[in-house]
Every structure is written in structure tokens, then in C-alpha cells.
Amino acid sequence: MCLTLPKKVIEIKENSVIVENHIGARQELKTIVDLSIGDFVVSQRGIIIETMDRGQAEEILNILQKQGGAI
């Protein structure tokens, strides 16, 4: 349910998108929004539902890093 973690778009395929999360894990997702490589997105249950402003995404990732949030 936590849709606040940004993921970065790595590759755009014909019917899916490859994204990478804050710990470098990659996932193949469907999307309902238009995307470009390098965009930050939020997803839920396998679907990208929103793009996130780069500044906000980087702020969130910095907070996670400072807090040792990632495994």
C-alpha cells in the first residue's frame, strides 16, 4: 500500500516497463501513464499509476539513505 517509494524507469518495452527501486532490484510493470526513461514513478500491484517529480523522488531517496531505510 505504500505508494510513496519512487522507482526509476530503466527500459520501456512494447507492453511493459522495467523499473529499478532504491535497493537496485528490478521489476517489470504495466503502466497507465506515459513515461520516458529516467522518470520516477509509483506503482501499485504491478501497475505504474503516477509519475513523481524528480526533486521529490530524490528527496525521498535521500531520506531513506540517511535513515538506513534500505536493507
Binding site: 500500500m1 505504500c2 505508494l3 510513496t4 517509494l5 527501486n21 532504491h22 535497493i23 532490484a25 497507465i32 509509483v42 501499485q44 500491484r45 501497475i47 499509476i49 503516477e50 521529490q56 528527496e59 525521498i60 531520506i63 531513506l64 540517511k66 535513515q67 538506513g68 531505510g69 534500505a70 536493507i71
Partner: protein, 221 residues
Amino acid sequence: MIDKKVITPAGLELLLKIMQTCPATPLNGGEHAKKHLQKLCKKGGNIFGCELRAVVDKELLCRCEGEMDVYSHLLENTQKNFVDEQEIMEYFGGNVHAEKILENAQRDGLHPSYSLKVVYGHLLVPVIINDSEEKTAVDSNGTTIEHLLTINGDKTLYAQGDIVLMHYGFIIGMISGAKMDILQAINQKSFLYNDAVGVIKEKMDFATMHYYPRSLKMAGK
């Protein structure tokens, strides 16, 4: 039968405040739920379970399954024919909600101790305002809470000593001492809440949580 259960006006009002502070609802963090729950609140009186469940499907490109889970749980897991404030507090302040949050946090790859802070942040908890200017509070364990926010448009002047409800680092309104006791008892029955309190120890600073930038936006800052 669950769609014929009703949600009381007080229950709906509390649910609206909680959903307004949840950055996890899709399409601009809670805006969708806010809009439709507000409409139901304005209608006045009890609303049926089917009306609540319909909120999730309205004008959405992608249904928020998490939001649907919440509404379904509220309607399916009460023995009563209505969902009131007590049911809402039981759900958002208790272990069922905490377990879902922990599961999601771990799936998202968050560190176990940080995940417990995330659990605490998501739970509905009563706190007492400590400094209204600096928006700090203290919870029943003596933990200081920093960088609290208020819902966009909330003009209430919270004063030192006020007992308020906290969800996701937002103050979502005042409650009586009696309700504080009820919610504290609900919190304390949740083993994950107790684990989280053990991790947080002295201070919970919401500005250090990864959802804070999104919460700031939702608070209109």
C-alpha cells in the same frame, strides 16, 4: 449483507480525516478518496456499505486495492450492523492494519527497524500537544513526536495539552480523554505497536520519514 451495513456519520468523518492524510491512495495522494468521502459526509446521516465501496471505483484509472481492502475489512469484520468511530479506531489503531503495513514495508525492501517506525507512523495514535508553534507532541509512552502536520485547510488552533489523533504524522482532530483511553488500549493490544515503540525509544521525527515530502505537499506546504 455487508453492503447493507451502515457507516455512522461520526465513523465516516473519522474515516475521511484518515484517508485525507494517507499518501498511499493513488492519484495525487488521497485527493480521490477525499473528494468522494466528502460528498458522502455532506449527504449526512448513515451511509450504506455499498456507497463506501463505490468510492474506490469512481473516476479512477486504477483502483486502489489497498483502499478497497480497508473498506471491505471494516464492513466484513464487525459483528454489528454498523461501523462507527470505535470500529475505525479498532482498525487503524490495531494490529490488523499494522501487519499489512509491515508486510508492505518489508516487500518494499525497507530495513526491519525502519519498517517498525513506518508501522508506528501509519497507526492511529492519540497524542498530547506539547508545543503548538513547533507542532510537537508526546504520546502515552513519553515519546516526543516532531514535525507534525495539519490537514490542508484545518484552521483549528491546537494548544498545549490538547489531546489529538495522529495518523501518518498529521494531527487529524481533537478527541476526549475517554476516547484517548480507548485508543491507547487498542494500540497496546497490538504487538507490532509495542515493538515499534521499543525501536523508536525517545523520539519520532516525521521529517526523517520517506513519506514526509509527499505529506508536506498534502498539507499544502
